[in-house]
């Protein structure tokens, strides 16, 4: 009987290929079939790369036939956020500015996933240059939430999250500057991890906020995310990224350990925050009880300077974005305004017409914040706030091993529902401070919200470079949820898409 490959986790796919149950080409073909069948409704991808995928799959099949040992994610289809360079694909950042830009080198994070055996099936949609929380600012098309295609998937890594949730791929890479992995993971009901800053190389990932950006994986199981983390950090620090650090550990080693006796921090102010919907609050409280039931101790922690996090983020982020996006001037590559009389006109008009509204808004904000006389008031103050928030977190981790909080204050909203940018910025209420502090965070699905019947999620955050501990707690939540639903996976592929195309022969 033919089953869709979307019932299999990345771990099961790799194991099945290694065992000879099916070939990498069959899996790649199934993934491409599923994409063909589901993309009209989901629109998670900006490009699909069948030639790259099939060539990679054939290499794995050849290696297996030759008796070579297969890497841990051999034959696992992977979606890649379109701000990551991969030779053979365009890297557009969902912007007109880079609509035709062909990657001339491959990002370290992508290369490491390929080295681990992943098969690149395509580049995923995103908010333009990762500015946004809904993927609506993509210059090309919106992406739909597989749980309700009338709704947004979250953002900015909305395409990556949706591709996993729709069962088009079991794994995807995203990047997270203020919540861009964790928030869409929450809204799409998948696991999404932002590792500690410096754990994963940023080389080849088009920068938004260099001191905030971090690459991480999406998967439908915690184990798959752990396997992807092994691939991303296992080779040690990247000599091409001066901010990357050597923190290689085996993320699978203690994944199923008991959390008995461990302490889980709860921030009361976060559970009372304005904008947090009752169903998300109830789900996160349920998750706390679940961890407690597994033997963890719940402790209250305070983060006195947390109020400053969003303000600090909207200074540091735009300032760095202004600087990082200055290079897009239409001279060497990217959109070039035709028929300009001189250099100034060409740069100005290329930028005016190449960037979308949100990209321009952030760069203008950044240019203002860094200008003479303004810098001290905002940028310097934001750096001070950053130091205080980091210290707050460090103090909190004296009292607990991880902190549990919502990933997003609410479930997915309808396309066009939020048009005020400042309202959109509040979607990142729970995720931003983690980027400010540089620590790791993981969003874990908690089933469907009682009111909306849409995915709700909890976020676990932990001390710097304790990302393995985070996954151990994430696994505990996943296990608890599976027990509660009597052994079935808590959330798998969104029902409207499960099994639609992608049969394994």
């Amino acid at each position: 009987m033919a089953t869709s490959f979307d019932t299999l986790s990345a771990a099961q796919i790799a194991a099945g290929i290694a065992a000879g149950d099916f070939t990498a080409r069959e899996v790649a073909t199934a993934s491409l079939d599923a994409i063909a069948a589901r993309e009209d409704a989901v629109q998670a991808f900006l490009q699909v790369s069948p030639e790259l995928a099939l060539a990679a799959a054939d290499r794995i099949d050849a290696d297996r036939a030759a008796g070579k040992p297969l890497p841990p994610l051999a034959g696992v289809p992977l979606a890649i956020k379109d701000n990551m360079n991969l030779v053979g694909t365009r890297t557009t950042c969902a912007s007109r500015m880079l609509e035709t830009y062909e990657s001339v080198y491959t990002a370290t994070c992508v290369q490491r996933m390929l080295d681990a055996g992943c098969v690149p099936v395509g580049k995923a949609n995103m908010d333009e240059f990762a500015f946004g929380s809904s993927t609506e600012s993509s210059a090309f098309h919106p992406t739909n939430n597989p749980w309700d295609t009338g709704r947004i998937p979250g953002g900015s890594s909305g395409g990556s999250a949706a591709a996993v949730a729709a069962g088009e791929v079991p794994l995807a890479l995203g990047s997270d500057t203020g919540g861009s992995i964790r928030q869409p993971a929450a809204l799409c009901g998948v696991v999404g991890m932002k590792p500690t800053y410096g754990a994963v190389s940023r080389y080849g990932v088009v920068a938004f906020g260099s001191s905030l950006d971090q690459v991480g994986p999406f998967g439908r199981t915690v184990e798959d995310v752990a396997l992807a983390m092994n691939a991303l950090v296992g080779a040690g620090r990247d000599p091409y990224d001066g901010t990357s650090q050597d923190c290689a550990v085996d993320f699978c080693e203690h994944l199923n350990d008991s959390i008995e006796g461990k302490r889980v921090g709860i921030i009361p102010a976060f559970m009372e925050a304005e904008g947090l919907t009752p169903e998300v609050r109830a789900a996160v409280e349920g998750a706390a009880k679940q961890l407690e039931a597994q033997g963890a101790e719940l402790v209250e922690v305070e983060l006195p300077h947390l109020d400053a996090a969003i303000a600090a983020y909207y200074v540091i982020g735009p300032a760095e974005a202004f600087s990082n996006l200055a290079r897009f001037d239409g001279i060497r590559y990217g959109y070039q305004e035709p028929d300009c009389a001189n250099l100034d006109a060409q740069s100005s008009l290329s930028r005016a017409h190449g960037f979308g509204a949100e990209a321009k808004r952030r760069q203008l904000l950044g240019a203002y914040l860094l200008s003479s006389g303004v810098y001290d008031k905002y940028y310097y103050a934001a750096q001070k706030a950053r130091t205080l928030i980091t210290a707050d977190y460090n103090a909190a981790y004296e009292k607990c091993d991880v902190i549990l909080m919502p990933s997003s204050p609410r479930t997915a909203w309808k396309h066009g529902e939020i048009s005020d940018p400042t309202q959109m910025y509040l979607a990142d209420l729970y995720t931003i401070s983690i980027n400010i502090a540089g620590n790791g965070g993981v969003s874990v699905p908690l089933g469907l919200g009682a009111d909306s019947q849409l995915p709700v999620a909890a976020q676990l955050v932990g001390p710097a470079f304790k990302d393995r501990t985070l996954l151990m707690f994430a696994r505990a939540l996943e296990r608890g949820l599976a027990d509660a639903s009597k052994g079935a996976p808590a959330l798998s592929v969104a029902p409207a898409f499960a099994g639609k195309g992608g049969e394994l022969a």
């Binding site: 080389y203 001066g242 202004f322 250099l343």
Partner: protein
């Protein structure tokens, strides 16, 4: 326009230099592994990092940091263990990222100093009124105003980040009291301390070639070509305090710095090819005035002569404008060596806003004591120490010692040639190197190492000179012959019968014969015409077929005629 010497009696010129040096001795660029080369095809040495392609990240070149630390140690700077890179934004195609990675308020090297010994004619440029107490006031008031020195620096000082308090405190508290004031010696020479504000690390921009425009400038160009080979070249920028007062001092400072950098082996320091470039900031104020005038910035000072002459012209130009009641605009001016004038390049109406902020892609540096000591241990003997040693050990003239010690190859050649010598023969070696060898090298390809002349040949020739076995005119001839043939000068002299006769007994009969033959001239000498002696020496030389020692003839003639 008035002469410089006239101008400087009434006006004080306050001069600061900004000196960029490419670290050409390194193999790779500042933030990537691309080859450093001036010779390759355009855009041959580029990669995603130096082209600023999306997603690329910089990784600092450790050897470049070693080089700048050495430069700082050799110029008596304080090495800042903690400093960082900043981004300086401006939109121009020569900088692929539209920002330059440079340093902020704290540079790797801060607060250094070089002492200049100003001798000879150049020492006269500084008028007598610019010494002692008056000069103390001048130095102190110029550096209190040092913020006006450079727009870029001023920008950096206004900007800040977390390091700002400390850096500014250090700068405003900078103390001139412990510095020796210049005093004029009897021979007119003087020594003056020139403070160095900072030496920071940055990356060079790409080279642009504008086609079809006027004099290669962008205005009216039909197209512009960009060569990114140079983009990302490690560059160190040294900024002096405004302590220089004459064009000669500026020239000497540049020369001295160049000698130090050559000795350190961090750059080829070619002003001609632009691997060492100097901008001069100059303003005038009336003698005794403590407020600084408006400065202009001079570019295209691409030789020592251009640096001197450009500043001299600009000082005289400013004096003329001011004396006619005009005002000086803060502007960048271009030295035109052909027309011997400066012309406006651009007027700075408002300070550029470079939006400087710490580069988030580059972690702050935390230099260890070990690293700094390792750099120190690799610094060879510096030119000043070498000059003093040559003067003391070989007994040669200080000016010659200075010149020889300034170039590492020349110094090594001298040491080998003069080994075991001192006094007269050592000075003869020095003379040969400073005059004959230097002139010879101008006419051949390559340097000292491969010019075909061996130290032993120079030593041998120097001995012949010191023993008065040949005249200096003959030495010139022998030098050319030994360079061509590679033979020992002794052999050349002997084979050609060039050896001077310095035996008084052998020469006296010739003197007697000449005096008998030239009785008229002898009488003229006795009547008080000293000049006629030269004619008589010439007659003696002729009679001896050039082999008599002219000095001895001179002495013998005087004795015979007295």
């Amino acid at each position: 326009m008035k002469e410089l010497s006239e101008v400087l009696k009434d006006w004080e010129a306050v001069i600061g230099l900004e000196i960029h040096t490419e670290l050409t001795a390194l193999d790779t660029k500042m933030f990537c592994n691309c080859k450093l080369s001036h010779e390759d095809e355009p855009n041959a040495n580029v990669c995603p990092v130096c082209l600023g392609l999306p997603g690329a990240l910089p990784v600092p070149n450790k050897r470049a940091i070693e080089s700048i630390v050495k430069a700082g140690l050799a110029t008596n700077c304080e090495i800042q263990k903690r400093s960082m890179f900043y981004r300086k934004h401006y939109f121009y195609p020569d900088m692929a990222k539209n920002f330059q990675t440079t340093q902020g308020p704290v540079a790797f090297c801060m607060h250094g100093r070089l002492d200049l010994e100003v001798t000879g004619r150049g020492a006269a440029e500084r008028p007598d009124c610019a010494f002692g107490e008056a000069e103390g006031l001048s130095l102190a008031s110029a550096s209190a105003n040092a913020e006006g020195l450079s727009t870029a620096m001023a920008q950096q000082m206004r900007e800040g980040g977390e390091t700002r308090g400390g850096a500014l405190a250090g700068m405003s508290g900078y103390d001139t009291a412990n510095l020796a004031l210049p005093e004029r010696h009897e021979d007119g020479s003087y020594t003056v301390p020139i403070r160095i504000l900072r030496i920071h690390m940055e990356e060079d921009a790409a080279k642009m070639v504008h086609v079809g425009g006027e004099e290669g400038r962008i205005a009216a160009a039909s197209e512009s070509l960009i060569d990114y080979n140079r983009c990302g070249t490690p560059l160190i920028e040294l900024v002096t305090e405004p302590d220089l007062r004459t064009p000669e001092e500026a020239r000497l400072f540049m020369e001295k710095l160049r000698r130090i950098f050559l000795t350190l082996g961090i750059s080829d320091c070619s002003m001609e090819h632009g691997s060492m470039r100097c901008d001069g900031n100059v303003s005038l104020r009336r003698r005794g005035e403590t407020k600084l005038g408006t400065k202009t910035e001079l570019k295209n000072l691409n030789s020592f002569k251009a640096l001197h002459d450009g500043l001299a012209y600009e000082i005289c130009r400013q004096a003329e404008v001011l004396e006619e009641g005009g005002i000086i605009y803060q502007e960048t001016r271009h030295w035109e060596p052909g027309r011997k004038r400066t012309v406006v390049m651009r007027v700075k109406e408002t300070a550029d806003d470079y939006r400087l902020f710490p580069d988030p892609d580059l972690a702050p540096f935390d230099l260890s004591d070990e690293f700094i000591e390792h750099c120190r241990s690799e610094i060879p003997e510096l030119p000043d120490a070498k000059r003093d040693r040559f003067e003391a050990d070989f007994g040669i003239k200080r000016a010659d010692a200075e010149q020889i010690a300034g170039d590492p190859e020349t110094a090594a050649f001298f040491e080998e040639s003069a080994a075991g010598l001192s006094g007269k023969p050592a000075q003869a070696v020095a003379n040969l190197i400073v005059n004959e060898l230097a002139a010879y090298l101008k006419g051949v390809e390559g340097g000292i190492a491969d010019c075909g002349i061996a130290p032993a040949q120079v030593a041998s020739l120097a001995k012949l000179l010191a023993e008065d076995a040949i005249s200096s005119n003959q030495a010139h001839e022998v030098f050319g012959l030994m360079a061509e043939s590679g033979e020992d000068p002794e052999k050349i002299v002997d084979e050609r019968g060039m050896r001077q006769v310095s035996d008084a007994g052998a020469l006296q009969p010739i003197v007697d014969e000449v005096l008998a033959r030239c009785a008229d001239q002898a009488q003229q000498y006795r009547d008080g015409n000293q000049k006629v002696l030269g004619f008589l020496v010439g007659q003696c030389m002729k009679a001896s077929r050039g082999q008599g020692n002219p000095k001895l003839f001179n002495e013998l003639l005087r004795a015979s005629l007295s």
